[in-house]
């Protein structure tokens, strides 16, 4: 498979690989727990009672790590059918504007999620009795990192004078 970070600087590559490693670990945990639970139910008439709880709690983190990587590698889903047909100068400006809007709205989500964590973060999960804040923090850290990534994208595009 092609290197998704080909041409990236050592810093960018290291950052992406660190987040990627965290995401892969979460992914493997989800696959393992679901597989072990399904197998255990038939083979040993026994399941990990906390399995579903942990898997569902990990999904926001899986989503946020994957989204961060998509933003960093310029693979975020967007409709280019119209903007790609604009004259290069206008397309460049629209691209910059898109990154800035994305950074602004993700910053807003991160701030609102801090309040959300403040209200519910100390609640505990039913079986594992872990504070839900550990999982809810995905809604703070993920959008905050995405906002920074979009700002960096906008900055680099502005300097390079090209559309994202």
């Amino acid at each position: 498979m092609a290197d998704p970070d080909a041409g990236a600087s050592p810093f960018d590559r290291t950052l992406n690989r660190l987040v990627e490693a965290a995401g892969v670990a979460i992914f493997l945990a989800i696959v393992s727990i679901v597989f072990v639970n399904a197998t255990g139910r038939y083979a040993f008439s026994s399941t990990l009672i906390w399995g579903d709880e942990l898997v569902l709690s990990l999904l926001p983190w899986l989503g946020m790590t994957g989204m961060f990587l998509a933003v960093r590698r310029r693979a975020a889903i967007r409709i280019g059918a119209f903007i790609d047909r604009l004259p290069p100068g206008l397309g460049h400006v629209m691209g910059l504007l898109g990154s800035i809007i994305a950074a602004a709205i993700f910053t807003w989500l991160a701030i609102v999620s801090v309040y959300y964590m403040g209200f519910f973060g100390s609640d505990r999960t039913i079986y594992l009795q872990i504070q839900k804040g550990w999982f809810m923090s995905a809604m703070v850290i993920g959008p905050a990192l995405a906002a920074i990534a979009y700002l960096v994208t906008a900055w680099r595009d502005w300097k390079a004078g090209r559309a994202p």
Partner: protein
């Protein structure tokens, strides 16, 4: 209600302006919540509850099993088997293209993954045998639409997550339409081959079928696990996804030895990037649906539909909603998490069978992937075939019309989708 209209307008303007879809959805949702006087913390709260669904786990799992299968070179084995089965016919490689997509559909959940896997083999092969580039690309683009109907199916997972419809029932509902559409494509290719005088390449060989079938036999374990497990009620679709991942990983790394552990890691990382953003879009679609419902938007949409069809005929209502879905699908990908939360309450008001509509929504997704301006299937195939999208769109017209006719047939005969699930549930 005015707030909802403004939110939808914001969403459309931002999407057209090329703002990333997650950011566009989030802006519309945030506006509607704040304008409606609701607490802003309900946005992350609804997002977390939207993404934390057991059904949704199936999405990353089936995407991962597909990525592992592609990386493990299983598409080549399926191609060889399909070629042995139908490659000797007139228009052989075009027939092979359809059959490979049907095989692939039973293993991976998305038409774009099918195109990436089988298209990169079949389009160059068809060009080498003298098919025009645009024809090779058109056949690949259209036949990849069969995949999302045959379980597992990413659009169906998204639909199930958004509507609460049983994912197992949806998967089974897509089987007959998927197989029928595949057969219809093959018949269409047969007619086109005869009219254009496409020559035969190779001869029928039972020994070759046996040899290629044996090489591909283990790959067919995935659909056996998924469909068999669902029909027999052995496991849930999400658990089926986990089994499919483990099976694909064992097959590629241990049995076939075509994938190293480093390659497996890269496959997981690729699946992570492909599904992560999709999960966030689904979580936002819940927030969007919730905010629109509280603003009575679905009732207004129902009124508009009734005004357009001038009455309460169920078929015409369904037709109007499908036209809306198809038009939206021409501009939106992913379509389902954005559109379905908006129209779901209207579907419930009209007493539309959600299982039937789920299969129709998959058809809307397939049509959208073949229709400019978005036309993701045409974009991918034009890249592989190195030809113009417009030429592919023109070459694709017979298959495109066939898909439209098939969609109308599915609308008129719901039993094509709903009969098998009702039998299995008994």
């Amino acid at each position: 209600m005015i707030g909802s209209l403004i939110a939808i307008a914001i969403l459309l303007v931002l999407l057209v302006a090329g703002v990333p879809m997650v950011a566009a959805l989030l802006t519309a949702v945030a506006f509607n919540f704040v304008y409606g006087g609701q607490w802003a913390i309900m946005v992350p709260q609804t997002m977390v509850s939207g993404v934390s669904q057991f059904t949704l786990i199936a999405l990353p799992l089936f995407v991962l099993s597909g990525v592992i299968m592609n990386a493990g070179g299983i598409s080549g084995r399926l191609f060889d088997f399909a070629k042995a089965l139908v490659g000797w016919m007139r228009g052989g490689l075009a027939q092979v293209n359809v059959l490979t997509s049907m095989f692939f559909g039973g293993m991976i959940g998305s038409s774009t993954a099918d195109l990436a896997g089988s298209g990169s083999i079949l389009i160059p092969a068809m060009k080498r045998e003298g098919y025009p580039s645009e024809v090779a690309a058109a056949v690949s683009a259209s036949s990849s639409g069969v995949g999302p109907l045959i379980p597992p199916s990413s659009p169906m997972i998204l639909y199930s997550a958004v509507t609460g419809t049983s994912l197992g029932a949806l998967f089974i509902a897509g089987l007959i339409p998927g197989l029928l559409l595949g057969v219809a494509f093959m018949l269409c290719i047969g007619v086109i081959s005869a009219r254009r005088g496409w020559v035969r390449h190779g001869a029928f060989s039972a020994a070759e079928i046996w040899r290629a079938g044996w090489r591909a036999s283990l790959a067919f374990g995935t659909p056996v696990i998924i469909v068999g497990g669902l029909v027999l009620g052995v496991f849930t679709p999400s658990e089926g996804g986990a089994f499919a991942v483990v099976y694909a990983a064992l097959l590629s790394t241990v049995v076939y030895r075509t994938l190293s552990l480093a390659g497996l890691y890269r496959a997981i990382a690729a699946a992570l990037q492909m599904t992560g953003e999709l999960l966030i879009i689904v979580s936002l679609s819940f927030a969007l649906g919730s905010s629109l419902s509280s603003a009575q938007a679905p009732q207004a949409l129902a009124g508009i539909v009734d005004a357009v069809v001038m009455g309460d005929d169920p078929f015409l209502r369904l037709m109007a909603l499908m036209v809306l879905a198809i038009i939206a699908g021409m501009f939106l990908d992913p379509l389902i998490p954005v559109l379905v939360p908006v129209i779901l309450p209207t579907l419930l008001l009209f007493d539309v069978d959600l299982l039937h509509f789920g299969v129709l929504m998959v058809m809307a997704v397939v049509i959208g992937q073949l229709t400019p301006p978005l036309a993701i299937a045409l974009i991918i195939t034009s890249g592989i075939a190195r030809t113009d999208q417009l030429k592919i769109f023109r070459a694709n017209m017979p298959f495109f019309l066939l898909i439209i006719a098939f969609t109308v047939l599915l609308m008129a005969v719901p039993a094509l989708a709903t009969w098998l699930p009702s039998v299995v549930q008994r």
